[in-house]
Symmetry: C2
Subunit: 113 residues, 2 copies
DNA sequence: GACATATTTCAATTTTTCTTGAATTATTGA
DNA sequence: TCAATAATTCAAGAAAAATTGAAATATGTC
């Protein structure tokens, strides 16, 4: 992932309404939510939400599909995974001890499964 | 970490000059670099750099200390770790398989040590 | 103390991002 | 086809972020 792409993803998450939207969609899982439902829950105008959703989609963090009149949005896991990989490689590679606790729970997690 | 703090850290990294500065300082390690050296390397005005460094420091991603006439900056590992924890918990908790590769290398890493 | 160096602060300007409300597009069901 | 619903697009304005250059602060050296 190059810097430009990383900045697109980071700035997509670095905004109140978009971060809340993203977190909400992580909780919803792959079935996602229609735009109108998201707008109602976070209480912003539909047109404002459209603007934010398109930023998140352009950044590769959401995907969208139409069902009847509704456009559903859900987390694009691969995009988030790439962003996390970019950040962890920058932070930890060469000095993995520096992200100890993070590595810790990931390892715990792997052990549990 | 609350949303407000996460947004501060994400927006700190979501800018060309700040991301380059941060990546440069990750490579430098704990000894860090003086502000003037950073400004020279990324080729921006010292006053512009000051603005960006203070954003990164306020976000908890850098720390600063003075040595003679120079002010050194280095990565604040704990801040980066907290940001990564926030993002991975949001992305993976409840569905850890979704960040498989990330978990993968972290686990490998733990095994190697 | 006087001067040089390193950095930050400040005010002004420019640029970018976000919101608003109206208009438009797309889809469905009567 | 017509009306209703869901969402997006667009243009205008407001708000926030970034850059600039000058001035101020801090430190070290002679």
């Amino acid at each position: 992932m190059d810097d430009r792409t990383a900045i697109e993803a980071l700035s997509a998450l670095a905004q109140e309404h978009r971060l809340r939207t993203f977190r909400m969609l992580v909780k919803e899982g792959p079935s996602g939510l229609p735009a109108g439902e998201i707008a109602a829950r976070i209480e912003i105008a539909p047109s404002a939400l459209s603007f934010h959703l398109s930023h998140l989609e352009r950044a590769g963090l959401l995907r969208a599909w139409r069902v009847k009149r509704h456009v559903y949005y859900a987390v694009e896991v691969e995009g988030m995974r790439k962003l996390l990989a970019f950040l962890t490689e920058d932070c930890c590679r060469g000095r993995p001890e520096l992200c100890g606790e993070l590595t810790g729970w990931a390892a715990d997690d792997a052990r549990e499964r």
